[in-house]
């Protein structure tokens, strides 16, 4: 059983409350069952025969955004998130999956994406793009951008064109499978992942760039953990890394000033999962006229927007509450623009920062290039 691999985490976390102040879901529900300790104690109690799975117990396991804030504040680095993912797989195997998670799986079964939607205008726009026969870069759009934030993809194209990059985008791009995996549908996620990595390989590129850090993290680390072979000759980069490299090498010069006071939100999957904190900041600092104000809790301590771990689908009120908590911190900065580098974060935070513009880093850079959007 998957959770058996995490016995040390269960033992450690079941008696420790020291990350209470940081737990994203705990700070929304204010219920101790939602803390890492509550979750670990639940699993310990199951092992000891003190508890059986019931609806509430299943709910607690799905009430985690996998933000890793607990790990970040823990000097020895205990992390409840991978234990939750393992526990969800056991819940699915036991046939106890919550209906809300089953609906997401059905969306994947019927439409190949978590939104349960067919092709969009962006799909058609992508098909019209001129693509070279020998691309060096594949821009992996990701489902959230495909179905919710098309302007990010269009901005990325603007940037690639400006840099003279030989790029391509997949028609009928498959999902990376991350959402399926974190909801506990590991077998299905692996099948999808194999299909996706095959499609990427078929493109012949050596570099994959995405504005969605969830996808990049999944390609870089997740797939291998799932047992999927990932070719060593493909480099997976978040757009912030691509931009920072392009700026450092002189390929990209941003000359158009933007008169904004910005603050930057570090996404969980870009920051705490891939430790990419400097590249987005380097990009922001290279835009003339931009003034940056850091949030009181930033980088590894940046608050979670609430949209991770499948929680917007399974417990939207918790996701909303987490977004509101993050929004309070963002508004403290007094900035007029919130910049983030994750479409899921943007989807959450735009609801919780009244009076602020919310922009993906990709879109901000494209704006600064002052060319077509």
């Amino acid at each position: 059983m998957g959770t058996n691999k995490f016995q040390e985490t269960i033992k450690a976390c079941s008696t420790c409350l020291m990350c209470r102040h940081a737990c994203t879901v705990g700070n929304v529900t204010l219920n101790d069952s939602n803390l890492p300790r509550g979750k670990a104690l639940l699993l310990l109690a199951l092992q000891k025969g003190l508890l059986d799975w019931d609806e509430r117990a299943v709910d607690v396991i799905y009430q985690c955004t996998n933000c890793h804030l607990c790990r970040e504040w823990c000097p020895p680095g205990w992390d409840i998130a991978p234990l939750m993912v393992a526990a969800r797989a056991e819940i699915v195997d036991a046939g106890l999956t919550p209906q809300s998670a089953l609906r997401i799986k059905q969306n994947f079964d019927n439409y190949g994406n978590p939104y349960g939607e067919s092709h969009t205008q962006l799909h058609e726009w992508i098909k019209e793009l001129s693509r070279p026969k020998d691309p060096e870069v594949l821009y992996f759009v990701g489902s959230t951008i495909l179905y919710r934030r098309s302007e990010i993809a269009k901005s990325a194209v603007t940037i690639f064109e400006h840099c003279g990059t030989r790029f391509t985008i997949l028609d009928d791009e498959p999902d990376c499978g991350e959402m399926l995996y974190v909801l506990g549908f590991q077998k299905e996620a692996r099948l999808l992942a194999q299909n996706t990595i095959d499609a990427i390989q078929s493109s012949g590129v050596s570099i994959v760039v995405s504005s969605d850090p969830n996808c990049i993290e999944t390609f870089r680390h997740g797939y291998r953990q799932w047992g999927i072979d990932v070719p060593d000759n493909i480099q997976f980069l978040h757009i912030s890394e691509f931009l920072a490299n392009a700026i450092d090498s002189g390929i990209l010069k941003i000359t158009h000033p933007l008169d904004h006071v910005v603050t930057y939100h570090d996404p969980c999957s870009l920051g705490r999962e891939m430790k990419i904190y400097d590249a987005p900041r380097e990009v922001l600092s290279s835009i003339p006229g931009l003034r940056m104000r850091e949030m009181r809790l930033n980088r590894e301590h940046s608050l979670c927007c609430g949209n991770g771990g499948g929680v917007p689908a399974t417990f939207p009120e918790i996701a909303n509450g987490a977004g509101e908590n993050a929004g309070t911190l963002i508004l403290e900065t007094g900035a007029d623009v919130l910049v983030t580098s994750c479409p899921s974060c943007q989807q959450s935070l735009r609801k919780h920062v009244p009076g602020m513009d919310v922009m993906d880093l990709t879109v901000l850079v494209a704006k600064a290039l002052a060319t077509r959007l």
């Binding site: 033992k11 450690a12 102040h21 940081a22 219920n31 104690l41 019931d54 509430r56 000097p75 020895p76």
Partner: protein, 482 residues
């Protein structure tokens, strides 16, 4: 007060609780009952570890206002249901165990920051506010609450006050009972009251201090105003190595009686110096290690540090400089995270107490002797450091540890209680008290009559007057059941 509700009564009470707080804020689910049956007390953790079900509450309720708390207490009086206030659940004395079932009242939804008075340096917040969040709010205004318990991130404001807790810097900034200005409390019969707006006055006995330390037995603390201090201009550390504990204790006494005000002094006995300091801080040390911290204006820090260096040098201490002290400060909570946190299957307890300087050495020796000699067959060992200093005395933060206690839970509990009684009685016999800053809870309640002697009658009379039906946290603090 020792009966459990029938299943029909549970449904009735559930209906009434939902009526008060809403469906989302009441639970009788096993998961939640289990979560709130285990705080940081060794006993329920041991029960779970041994596969035994801890004592569960019937309901876990999350009120959002003092008015909801009042209605819940009135309901509890009607049905004679126990009510157990719960803040962070980080207490080590079993103060939140639902010994007779009932309603565990999680106060964390009463978490509003109400006011920061920047002129008077006071902060008012509801009692369920997280300790770290409160401190951050103070920091944004250039202030500190000055209360840094190891549990700061886990505990709540109410949880600091209920057991008269202490923080790492209490030597300078005071314990919870020194920092609190006033309270809002819901009495056991439901009245919502406030204590006087200032802690110092000549307006009768202190109602404020009646509730501070009451551990949920005399009412529910719903709001508190705390004194704050300016964030210091500078913090500085210095550490010393004495040849023995005696010299270290004498140094501490001279420092405090000279009315020097270090923000912290931590003096480790010889065993702790080797076991903890060397292992955790990587400093090889034999003897008795002390770290002293100073904060405030640069000039004050310079002066206090130089006076302390003089005192310690006169007692033959090696001056280890400042680096080791900073290392301790930056890792001071490392001891509280697993795997460094003592954990099962070990049996352990912090038998802290406080006494005057005249008594401290003999108290320490008496406790060390009883733990190590009487419990030799269990290979019990005793560690101590002295971490909270007063103008008149010092507290000893001492622990007993048994690496391999009995596997049988009942035998383990009997051994546990026996050691605790011996340690506590050694404290009381040598001018100390049952506890200095962790509280009494259920663990030490049965020794309270012995501690207070004839004065216990007054304590019980207060309890009976305020809580005639005995609903508030029954079985705690040693109060008789009603």
């Amino acid at each position: 007060m020792s009966h459990r509700l029938t299943s029909y009564q549970i449904d009735i009470v559930m209906s009434e609780l939902i009526d008060i707080v809403g469906q989302e804020d009441v639970s009788a689910a096993k998961v939640d009952q289990l979560t709130y049956a285990v705080d940081h007390y060794w006993v329920p953790e041991m029960w779970v570890d041994r596969g035994l079900e801890p004592i569960l509450p019937d309901f876990v309720v999350h009120p959002e206002t003092p008015e909801e708390v009042s209605r819940i207490l009135q309901l509890a009086n009607t049905y004679r249901i126990p009510v157990i206030p719960w803040g962070g659940g980080s207490g080590s004395q079993g103060g939140t165990l639902p010994l007779f079932g009932g309603i565990t009242l999680d106060l964390k939804k009463l978490n509003k920051l109400i006011d920061i008075d920047e002129k008077s340096y006071t902060i008012t917040a509801q009692s369920g506010i997280n300790g770290q969040h409160l401190e951050w709010a103070a920091n944004q205004k250039g202030m500190t609450v000055g209360h840094y318990p190891a549990s700061q991130r886990a505990s709540t404001l109410g949880g600091w006050l209920a057991p008269r807790g202490s923080g790492t810097l209490s030597t300078k900034y005071g314990k919870a009972e020194d920092i609190v200005m006033s309270l809002q409390v819901v009495l056991p019969t439901g009245e919502i009251i406030r204590t006087l707006p200032t802690p110092n006055h000549a307006t009768g006995p202190s109602l404020l201090q009646l509730f501070v330390g009451s551990e949920g037995t005399l009412g529910v603390i719903t709001e508190a105003t705390m004194r704050a201090d300016p964030l210091p201009e500078e913090r500085r550390f210095r550490s010393f190595l004495f040849s023995s504990l005696s010299e270290g204790l004498e140094a501490g006494r001279r420092i405090m009686t000279a009315r020097i005000r270090p923000m912290v002094m931590r003096l480790y006995d010889e065993v702790s110096t080797v076991k903890q300091v060397e292992r955790v801080l990587g400093i090889k040390a034999q003897g008795s290690y002390m770290v002293v911290g100073f904060d405030g204006f640069n000039e004050f820090v310079d002066l206090e540090e130089s006076k302390v260096i003089d005192i310690c040098s006169a007692l033959g201490a090696n001056d280890l400089g400042s680096e080791a002290g900073w290392k301790w400060w930056n890792h001071r909570y490392d001891f509280y995270y697993p795997p460094r946190l003592k954990s099962l299957p070990r049996m352990f307890g912090t038998t802290d107490t406080v006494c005057t300087y005249s008594n401290i050495e003999k108290l320490y020796q008496a406790k060390k002797e009883v733990i190590e000699n009487k419990y030799r067959e269990w290979n019990a060992y005793y560690l101590a450091h002295f971490s909270h200093w007063y103008p008149w005395g010092v507290m000893v933060y001492d622990q007993f540890v048994i690496d391999q206690p009995p596997e049988n839970a009942h035998q383990a509990l009997l051994l546990h209680n026996q050691i605790w009684a011996d340690a506590a009685r050694a404290s009381m016999a040598n001018g100390g008290v049952l506890n200095e800053h962790h509280g009494i809870g259920v663990k030490l309640g049965w020794l309270m009559k012995e501690q207070y002697g004839p004065a216990w009658k007054a304590m019980q009379a207060i309890k009976d007057a305020l809580d005639p039906n005995g609903i508030m946290n029954p079985g705690k603090l040693g109060f008789a059941l009603r």
